[in-house]
Amino acid sequence: MNGVLALSGRLQARHLLIGLMLAFIGLFLVLPLVSVFAEGLSKGFAAYGAALVQPDAQSAIKLTLLVAAISVPVNVVFGVMAAWAIAKFDFPGKSLLITFIDLPFSVSPVVAGLIYVLMFGMQGWLGPWLRDYDIQIIFAVPGIVLATIFVTFPFVARELIPLMAEQGRDDEEAALSLGASGFQTFLRVTLPNIRWGLLYGVLLCNARAMGEFGAVSVVSGHLRGLTNTMPLHVEILYNEYNFVAAFAVASLLALLALVTLVLKSIVEWRFDYQRGSVGH
């Protein structure tokens, strides 16, 4: 990286490559982001604000927050448990287990929604039984939460497993030999060690939970004011040619993405957190 002679050191090539890369990032990443806000504000602030205070938009925002408030903590608990079992112990079949935890990343979101329809829908395995007990999962909030948990399933675990494996067991073993209980050791030793990785996983998990579209779209039933999350509300408004409102609601989600990126960068810079895996 300090080479004067190296490929990277040639001045013309360097300027050309930096220019090309900035043009590409500008055209492919920055322009879409800017266009969301520009389209949302194209009829002025009043129209923008009106789209956000509309009752259907409000209920979509509330549902999105509710779904994230359930699915993110569930995945945090699962992720920490899974990482503890996988990183602190040796057992056969470890890499197979990691592959299984990763599976939701390689499943199409639409298929993720479909599997819950096949389980809990009227024609599904448990459909008739659920109907007898008057429990509705598909086309209702529980289905949306389940589908969201599925698509965000690996985020926290994936972040923690390499981190905890790298940190090893010495700290925990020292605490235990000094008389700490297992739970105390986890709270006082392990948790502080993994806090930045955990925060990182939570940030990515939350962004996906609030923004998930495909899986939620399949199980939601699109009942306005009842089972529409923000991304689904954006789709409905867009298909009704209500572009200003669609982009106004979309801009809130874009804002969420920007906040996520800023917090993520702070974790990386300030605390020099090195990621253990390629993100999704």
């Binding site: 490559l17 592959t99 096949l118 599904g124 235990l176 609030m210 495909g214 874009a254 993520k264």
Partner: protein, 298 residues
Amino acid sequence: MDIALSSQLQVPDATRHPAPPRTPRRKSRSVIPGFGLTMGLTLAWLSLVVLIPLSTVFIRSAGMGVSDFLAAGFSDRALAAYRISFGTAFLAAVVNGVLGLLTAWVLVRYSFPGKRIVNALVDLPFALPTAVAGIALTAIYAGNGWVGQFLEPLGIKIAYTPLGIVMALVFIGLPFVVRSVEPVLDDFGAELEEAALSLGARPWQVFARVVLPAILPALLTGFALSFARGVGEYGSVIFIAGNMPYKSEIAPLLIVTQLEQYDYAAATAIATVMLVASFAILLGINCIQAWSRRRLAA
């Protein structure tokens, strides 16, 4: 069960194993408690949320009979949808392989003002909801959009054509390549390039003979991850695709369409084909990574 076990486990080894352990290959037991509890809950939750629901697709397909399955999963319309999904995802992954490598290269090797912001922006596709990306890209590349208005007079139509699908998938897949290649490029350092250059190699020779072989596994991993994501992508594509059967209808959309028509059999059959394809890609990625580890070890 686990808490009781954990207190026993803290007893020194000698008292627990008066005789030498009979299985010498087994590693010494960890003194850390909680294996049974965390492993049990992990397996239970994994089965309930992921494995059992996923198995429904295969069990339903198995119950369909071969001819019904083939008719539903490989109908003309489904074949056209696979062609579009896999074709556009492949093209997008190729574009990402080139432009992602460029981005990673510049981010690792050069310093320039605003580098940190660009570095953070690379992850935007991970953070931005796909539906938002979809409507934004459509707005830009439509005939009257910011970019579309300049391309339309040239006869290039992006929105509502397969080219639009490729654009959306390039957006979605970019970070996979950049984040796969970046750490390898960083480890690799510039010393080898310097050495090759000082021995008289031309820059493109250094790139082709020294740099590319070293980062190839990482680049292939990024390519495969980008491809896998593109094949299953739904949210960002449906707005820009136009969704014409046989022309610009992707396979995930066809599943949704069949579901909306209550044709569960067809939806399940297509989903099975998609799942098998994604498992094959996953296996491929694992093979690439195993190969790369072996190469590093050698």
